[in-house]
């Protein structure tokens, strides 16, 4: 299937993506997955099976908090939102990500056309 050709998400990146998605407002798990997929223009397909343990991990660390609510189409869902420390974490991780991305870009050199 097409997932084969999609880039693997770097380890730890999923956390960053979740935090970034929640920065826009509270959202349930399925919504987060959809949002990441659509914002990345279908480049990143979040593995639903690993999304929820990741959410739980973030919740355990106190970066996000959750409560049960009702979705737009009247389904019960568990909604997540950023905590203040999660917001700080997002800033921190974003900065790190860019630093890493710049470094990798330096190593890889200019992007060849046509890839």
């Amino acid at each position: 299937m097409s997932t084969q050709s999609r880039p693997q998400i770097l380890q730890g990146t999923l956390d960053l993506l979740i935090l970034r998605t929640l920065a826009a407002g509270r959202e349930h798990g399925q919504g987060i997955a959809r949002s990441i997929q659509s914002t990345s223009r279908d480049t990143i397909l979040v593995d639903h099976g690993s999304l929820y343990p990741a959410l739980q991990r973030l919740e355990d660390r106190g970066w996000i908090r959750a409560e049960w609510g009702v979705s737009d189409n009247n389904r019960r869902a568990r909604f997540y939102e950023l905590t203040p420390s999660g917001r700080k974490r997002l800033v921190h991780e974003t900065r790190e990500w860019w630093a890493l991305a710049d470094a990798i870009a330096l190593i890889l050199g200019p992007q060849p056309s046509g890839t």
């Binding site: 798990g29 919504g31 639903h48 099976g49 929820y52 343990p53 739980q56 389904r75 869902a77």
Partner: protein, 901 residues
């Protein structure tokens, strides 16, 4: 970033909540797929497909939610429990061995803690000191306080915030009835200065302590009751304050109740009465009082002693009397300031530490043994463990298995051990009076002791499991599998650790056996000392005649004479007498300066101090003390009151060598009347069997004049002591005369309580109680260590035999005689045992020095004891290795060779 509260929140979310979140996701995703145009059935399937493995997500959640370590530990413990139940012999042996080690350590530590470590139950106990004096006079090396020194120190010192004085004295407390019909009980009491209570800093439970002027002799009599006495005798009646109780025939007003923790001077003290010191009438040379003082903050013991030392020469100026400046100088009197705790604890510390050392050794032996058992187990399971390792079991899992088994066994051993300790302490408490351990009442299984027990248990678990666990790291899979295959004899290197343990066990056991041997020798030589009296069939009890009921010497002597006559007339009674101070018992001891006519004192020379006791004619035959010269006293007669004395052989030898002592004269004060020696008794070791014989002056029950008074003058014309011990000898040891004898006294003096009822055999046993106590504990420890060591050696030799079964079978098959095989095994065992013995002897030579102070007539490196200990160890070792050796030789070679192991 770690916040413990998250842990709590996480715990709140359960697996079901997580699962319902997944269901919600699947529903949302299905909705969305339907919205994108998939048919509902396909949409649900696709949502599931995209999610992937729901179960995997749930498990990942579950393992995050629970702390894996705890869940894993619980699982390990459960499995370990099952494994242990399946191996009852191993588990039982290990748990019992640990029970001995942990129980002994816990019990003895509770003693060390309660007696030695725990602070005294007073305010700021570190500031409290005991003040006494050392001096250089024959017969006495230490005195406490006289009223004069106490008063002067109290007034003039610069180092104390308070000084209190006290004196122990038992009293007759009337319990029922009044007047002549009153029944009294003998209770331990203390005469205390008013300041004592504020110095110790304990407030009364009810009422008040003594007022400042109440401790003068002229003050109206008051008493403070101890909480225990108040509970038992007066039913905790709060109305007792202000009422009077009869003490020694005098009404005393109860002014206060002291709480039970105020166990001063010791836990037996039932009540306190004022000390009765009159600054205007001091007896400066009668050191009858103890002083306890509270140092000001920042003052050291040395500084306090220096301050008082500077004051001491000025005492005679403030309180003129027999304690002169000359006397202080000649006797080299020095002020001795010691911490109150050291004074109270006395010299029991060394005994307790020795016993504690023995218990710790026993614990080490039992840990070594259990570690050894674990090694055996590890070897038995080695095949299984190696296969599991090969199949991917992590080392951590295998270490955890051993650790959890060890923790379980240690816990079991710990629980049993604490129970054993509780039982042991209970037994000790019930025989408290015999051993006379100060502060024993504070020894118990409190929090500190239990914490130590738990710590010891966990440490034991760690030690026991570490060795096999570490060894499970060692062997490579292939090598073990190959070793266990055909064609090789088993790897000897596996035995190395076990041999080491056995060597350690043998060495420790030898140290304990040596210690017990030395104590046994010491006890034996103590018991072989002739006490100088015949303890069999002699029986004693004490009475104290109150001054009020027996106001005159006449009344006292009349009662005593009538009582002794009646007792002697009883069937089965051979003789009866009175003595004020019994041999090997410290009650009512008196020491007095003795001036001998044939030994005039040089200028500035101090007379020697000797023990003085009052006796009646029958005393010596009742105690079985023989006469070497002369004869006993005549019947006490107030009218004549002859100036006769009897002396012990040691005293006669000191002054008159071997010459005739009868007819010589001595006196008890510089200007008193001369007493004539009428008899010399055999030596009596009345201070202690390990002490030189007493140099005692026996005075007749009634003398004229009485003991010298404060200013050196003669006392009342006729005087008789009222604090008396009756000594009665029955015709045969089996003849029990106690009841009729006591009835005689109850008939003649119904209000006078009889107390301290003992056979002289008991008195004798009590004087050696501490040695026998140490001996018994060391014997128990060493026997346990021997047994455990023997089991360890037996196990190692057996294991060695089974590991070499194949080799031996080959040897037998090739014609080796059984004798050679036995020798082969035996030699190996002996090597191990010998190494242990050599190490043990070395350790014993070093460690037994700590025992030296407890020993009597035995050197700490006593060669016969050492030799005996080595022989005992060697015999035990031989027995422990003989059986496996015989089994090895008797094995059928065909069986061993065919066995596929």
């Amino acid at each position: 970033m770690w916040n413990p509260l998250h842990f709590l929140r996480r715990r709140r979310r359960n697996d079901a909540d997580f699962s319902s979140e997944i269901s919600a996701h699947l529903a949302l995703e299905t909705d969305r797929l339907i919205a994108e145009g998939l048919p509902p059935a396909d949409a649900a399937f696709e949502a599931h497909r995209r999610f992937g493995n729901v179960r995997l997500a749930q498990e990942s959640f579950h393992s995050r939610r629970t702390i894996p370590l705890i869940e894993g530990t619980a699982r390990h413990i459960r499995r370990a429990a099952r494994r242990l139940v399946r191996a009852p012999v191993f588990s039982g042996t290990a748990a019992l061995t640990l029970m001995l080690g942990i129980g002994a350590t816990t019990a003895v530590f509770s003693l060390v803690d309660g007696v030695l470590l725990r602070p005294l139950p007073f305010r700021d106990p570190a500031q409290l000191v005991d003040v006494s004096h050392s001096l250089v006079v024959h017969g006495i090396s230490h005195v406490d306080q006289s009223d004069a020194t106490y008063l002067y120190y109290r007034e003039a010192n610069h180092v104390f915030s308070g000084v209190g004085a006290y004196r122990t004295s038992a009293v007759n407390l009337s319990t029922t009835g009044t007047g002549d019909r009153a029944r009294a009980e003998r209770v331990e009491a203390a005469r205390a200065s008013a300041s004592l209570f504020s110095v110790l800093g304990i407030a009364p439970l009810m009422g008040r302590t003594f007022r400042e002027n109440e401790d003068r002799p002229s003050a109206p009599p008051v008493v403070i009751l101890g909480e225990h006495l108040w509970n038992t005798q007066y039913a905790s009646d709060p109305g007792i304050i202000g009422r009077t109780v009869m003490i020694d025939g005098v009404q005393h007003e109860v002014v206060g109740i002291m709480p039970a923790r105020f166990a001063f001077p010791d836990s037996r003290t039932a009540l306190w009465i004022p000390i009765g010191i009159d600054p205007a009438q001091t007896r400066s040379a009668a050191f009858d009082f103890h002083a306890v003082a509270r140092m000001r903050p920042g003052v050291t013991l040395d500084a306090a002693a220096r301050d008082l030392q500077a004051l001491l020469p000025h005492v005679p100026e403030a309180f003129p009397g027999r304690l002169t400046a000359d006397a202080i100088a000649i006797t080299h009197m020095r002020v001795d300031v010691r911490s109150l705790r050291d004074t109270i604890v006395g010299n029991i510390g060394r005994t307790l530490w020795v016993v504690f050392g023995a218990a710790a050794f026993l614990l080490l032996v039992s840990c070594a043994n259990v570690a050894n058992l674990f090694l055996v187990r590890a070897e038995e399971r080695q095949h299984e463990l190696v296969v599991r390792r090969a199949l991917g079991a992590s080392r951590g899992v295998i270490v955890a298995e051993f650790l959890s088994e060890a923790v379980l066994l240690a816990l079991l051993g710990g629980v049993l051990g604490v129970a054993l300790a509780a039982a042991g302490l209970g037994a000790l408490h019930s025989m408290q009076s015999g051993i006379a351990i100060p502060r024993l009442a504070t020894a118990g299984l409190n929090g500190v002791v239990l914490a130590v027990a738990i710590g010891v248990t966990l440490l034991a678990a760690l030690v026991m499991s570490l060795v096999p666990a570490l060894r499970s790291y060692g062997p490579q899979v292939a090598s073990v599998l190959m070793q266990n295959g055909r064609g090789t004899t088993a790897g000897r290197n596996r035995l190395r650790a076990r041999r080491l343990f056995v060597v350690v066990q043998m060495a420790l056991a030898l140290v304990l056996v040596t210690g017990a041997g030395l104590m046994a020798r010491s006890f034996q030589s103590l018991r072989s000392v002739a006490p100088g009296f015949d303890p069999d069939a002699a029986y004693t009890f004490r009475v104290a005649l109150p001054d009020e009921a027996y106001p005159t010497t006449n009344a006292t002597v009349t009662l005593v004479t009538r009582a002794l006559d009646a007792m002697t007339a009883l069937p089965g009674v051979q003789s009866a007498g009175i003595l004020t101070k019994l041999p090997l018992d410290n009650e009512a001891r008196r020491d007095t300066a003795v001036f001998v006519e044939d030994r005039p004192l040089a200028m500035r020379e101090m007379p020697d101090i000797h023990q003085v006791a009052y006796a009646t004619p029958g005393t010596f035959s009742a105690l079985g003390i023989p006469f070497l010269q002369g004869h006993t006293f005549e019947q006490p007669d107030v009218a004549r009151a002859p100036l006769d004395v009897i002396v012990t052989h040691a005293l006669a030898a000191r002054y008159w060598s071997d010459a005739q002592a009868v007819g010589r004269r001595l006196r008890l004060s510089q200007d008193g009347p001369w007493f004539t020696v009428i008899g010399v008794t055999g030596d009596v070791r009345g201070t202690g069997l390990d002490q030189p014989p007493d140099e005692t002056v026996y005075l007749p029950l009634v003398t004229a004049p009485g003991p010298a008074t404060a200013n050196g003058g003669a006392g009342a014309t006729h005087w008789a002591p009222r604090d008396l011990a009756f000594v009665v000898r029955s015709a045969s040891p089996s003849h029990d005369i106690t009841i009729p004898v006591e009835r005689v006294l109850q008939t003649l003096a119904p209000s006078v309580p009889v107390y301290a009822v003992h056979t002289m055999r008991e008195v004798l046993a009590r004087s050696t109680a501490r040695t026998s106590f140490t001996l018994v504990l060391l014997e128990i420890a060493s026997i346990a260590a021997l047994l455990i060591g023997a089991v360890g050696l037996y196990g190692v030799v057996s294991c060695m035999v089974s590991l070499r079964a194949r080799e031996m079978a080959v040897r037998t098959a090739l014609g080796a005689p059984p004798r050679a095989l036995r020798r082969l095994v035996f030699t190996q065992a002996v090597t191990v045992a010998a190494l242990g013995i050599v190490l043990g002897v070395g350790a014993a030579l070093v460690l037994m020095r700590f025992l030296a102070a407890l020993l009597f007539n035995v050197a700490p490196n006593d060669p016969p004891t050492m030799l005996a200990a080595v022989v005992v160890m060697a015999m035990v070792a031989a027995a422990a290795s003989w059986f496996p050796a015989r089994r090895a030789a008797a094995a059928d070679p065909a069986v061993a060779l065919r066995a596929d192991m």
